[in-house]
Amino acid sequence: MWLKLGRRLGSLVIVMFLVATMVFFLTRLAPGDPAALMLGDQATAEDIARLRQVYGLDKPILVQFILWLKEIATGNLGQSIFLQRPVIQAIAERAEPTFFLALFSVSVAALVGIPAGIASAVWRGRLVDQIVSGLAMLAANIPSFWLGLIFIQLFAVRLGWFPVAGYGEPGAPFMERVLHLALPATVLGIVNSALIVRFTRASMLDVLSEDYVRTARSKGLSEVRVVLRHAFGNALVPIITVVGLTAALLVGGAIVTETVFGLPGIGNLVVSAVLRRDYPVIQGALIVVAGIYVLINLLIDIIYTFVDPRVRY
């Protein structure tokens, strides 16, 4: 178990190095010069050259890469070119809305998707299954921006139950944050529940035809206990995988949803950084998101060992 964990952490370092390499060079493939963008149309060639020197953009690209690697290896993500503050600080400021949005969305998706998937499998081919499968198909194909706009129109504008957009005043109480997140989290939850429904249904159908489910029935257990304890307990591994991956994707920032609901999250930060060629921010944000993604994957693997004893040994 510990050996396995150590090996996983080792491969994590390699993965992060590959991510860093790709992030650095892909960012630079895009045309455009941050110095020129920053100084505007009136800037002279000398001004631009001076600014490029300040940010080290004049050095050969490989040298820039090695310098940057050294920095991030010590945990320093550098200085934003436009925001006039450390990248890590810029990310930290935007992390809260994204984190809670991801958390609430995944919760909604799991709370909707898992029971629906179980019901769909238990009553396979019946009306419940047809309705659930139909709705899941619909949810998977609805664009989140469209559903977001409908929700804003209905629940915020017409009914006035929730704020239209934004994340409230700085320092507002947590409940107000929750109100601001309710609509975007529901939208993302519904859209992402589709995959969870399908995985839960498929996994439960596999398990329900297993011999040990018949054994459980032969013991005289109630159907609820057979389904929830004996079948669901065995169907968990793929379900945890898909829920975890959904969470990991959402931590990267739901760019479209954050934009529609005007949430100042990571997704927003990355979009504006890309538009301004703010290399340090783009790189830093992608490194952090990739790091979280990898960590969530590691967490999923650790959770496996709790739900499936066969993985433990």
């Binding site: 054994t215 032969s218 013991k219 005289g220 257990l221 109630s222 307990g233 065995n234 499936d308």
Partner: protein, 334 residues
Amino acid sequence: MNMDTPSLLSIQDLEVRFRTEDGEVTPVRGVTLSVSPGETVALVGESGSGKSVTSLATMGLLPRPAGRVSGGKILFRQRSGQTVDLATLPLPDLRRLRGAEIAMVFQEPMTSLNPVLTVGEQIAESVRLHMGLGHASALKRAAEMLDLVEIPNARRRVHEYPHQMSGGMRQRVMIALAMSCNPSLLIADEPTTALDVTIQAQILVLIQRLQREIGMGVLFITHNLGVVAEIADRVTVMYAGQVVETGSVGELFRTPRHPYTSALLNCLPARARRGEDGRRVVQSIPGSIGKVGNGCAFAPRCGQATDSCQAGSVLLETEMDRSVRCLRWREILA
């Protein structure tokens, strides 16, 4: 059948239908058999003869909604003395009997135990439900059961998961699970087929020992006549969903009346060696169930068949404690 002891289980003219994509099939059509307390009845037949379907129907475990009992009765005498028809018993009442008074051991020990629960939890779950014990005493009972089925270090192994055990050990666990609430009827569906020969023998001895101790009736489903000779008191032979012959082990092995039974017995290596022309194999493939016409289902494969065999339905003829479903058995024997 011994008339003094009323039957524990009495299946009468059972018919089971399955809906399939090609329409309805009838894998079991007219199965009649009985099991008395303390008696072991072997249900014998080749794959697809309807043995397992008969046992699943008895437990009410036919795959739903495809399968259903479409005729006949499955009478079971409860501990209270009341006799119920398992085929029509409401599900909640059936659940009270399952695991408590009727228990089942399945063919596949490798897949019949839940991989994410310890074997102790799986036994204790049944004990808690039917015997009303608390968590700790149920687990203690589970350990006692493991001890009873001769699993070494039972108190430690009660906390192990199925994947930590061999196939033979798992089948012992299945038996411990089935026996945990002292059932009066055990249905064993090919419990030794998936095991090594040496382990098979151990499991058979174990089932016999426990049966003597608890005094339960056993319906033992198998296709292995060697096993039948070893453990059964009486034998019921099935072919294409029907009972073709019933009798005590001694009589049936000595003087089989149905040509199919004779053919099966001739497949036993010991008999084949004694025979003149070596081993005689039952020829061709078994008749497709559900599409059998009126006459004797075995007729197309039977060396003794005449035109009259395929003319009309053949009834199960009962004489003393033997039954046979063959028009010509007297001629053939003579």
